[in-house]
Amino acid sequence: MIRFVGVSKRYPGGFEALRHINLEIEQGEMVFITGHSGAGKSTLLKLIPLLERPSRGQVLVNGVNLARLRKGRIPHLRRRVGVIFQDHQLLYDRPVYDNVALPLVIAGVPHREVGRRVRAALDKVGLLNKERSYPITLSGGEQQRVGIARAVVSRPPILIADEPTGNLDPALSAEIMGLFQEFNRVGVTLLIASHDLELIRRLGQRVVCLEHGEVIDDWAGVAA
């Protein structure tokens, strides 16, 4: 599904955030990325929806070499990759409903269909009663869950999450991870960057560990 072949990323400042990464993620896999702060986790994830481009090497998604993707096709790539951001990236002047509906509106989904799917997604993250609230009136954890609802509402085959539980209490973190496992069970490929080693261990999935931009560890989970 997703392949990194000799990928390096050097940022304009000259800093090399990723060094010669080789990684293959199968369809339907659920992979955690860990590593210290500044190890390159976010950078690695950003390469998949083309938020950054590698300075060397190739990234292939579904067999398509992203370096060869026409500019006009990028939006369609991004529609197939749901992203949950570390800093939520919500629109603070729109209610929760509009935020979650945005990917569907952009994709041109018919009006009636939109309502049904938005409510289903909000229900999944337990925010159905906050539909009309503005993100500003939500707690950090609630905003995080709005971001998750928006990422999954268009049922993308790939889901990327950058520290989705950074601001959640342990109980809620476990719940969200359970949600991810549910998505995983229906065939969604997941890549999750996280610091929460304890939680990861408990889930028993594949874990890729980065250090200074290199893969230093990659072990399949016990449950897999």
Partner: protein, 319 residues
Amino acid sequence: MAAGNPRARSNRLRQSVDAWGSAHLRALFASLGRLYRAPLPSLMTAAVIAIALALPAGFLLMLANAERVVGSWEGNAQISLFLELGTDAEHYRALARELRGHTQIDSVDVITPEAALEEFRRLSGFQEAMDLLDDNPLPPVLVVRPVSGLTPAEVDELVGDLQTQSAVEQLRLDQEWLQRLHGIMQLIQRGIWVIAVLLAVAVILVVGNTIRLDIQNRRDEIVVAKLIGATDAFIRRPFLYEGIWYGIAGGLLAALLIEVGRLLLGGPARELAVLYGSSFSLQGLGFVGILRLTLAGSLLGLLGSWTAVGRHLAAIEPR
């Protein structure tokens, strides 16, 4: 093959046309809604555009009115035809009748040599000398008043016509100050075009600037939309519509301003007209004028937003 099935193909075509249309409608209403939600700032921008549109349009209107006035003055300018000495009464009366039939001539007065001599005698102080004359040395004169509202060119033509009349010895048309006025009006017209260009540029800049700041303002939204897979066209559309809305609102407001201006200037203009005994009233834009103004506004608005969108949207990329 399915692609070969004309029914299926037309269906798919219909669907994509529908999607395209509904996307446009959404952008149209979304941009309108955005302006509506911030009515005061939107109105301020529209007001600036209105002022910029109203000025050249108002000037052109004023010039058109001024040309009408000057035209009517030109019509008032009387033309004196000095006929050949000794032209007999029957002849010049016939000529006067003929000229009265001319469509561009309002009235013709005849000054007979006798009447002229009498007048001359009264005024000149040569009374004794006159009494000694056997013959009347004065020619008959026809005073021709053209219909009002002729253009300078038409007056020139009329003068040419009259000059070719066989009995006409000499012709006089006093319009030195009209020539000066024409010179001034040409200068003014040239000025108005300079101003119109300047103000069209101003409209483009104002709309462009407003849209640019609006784009920067909604940076987050654009970034998020791009992140989620919005196409450039999807993001661009509401801004372009916004520019058009600004232009249309500006155009309509400009028409309003011009009408208000007409009311303000109408008073003194009428006074002036009364002073010169003409029944002049300032002419307004009319429906076509308002339409043209609105169209010009929306085009300039589109142009302004287009420049801003082209330059600034590409610069915003999700990181």
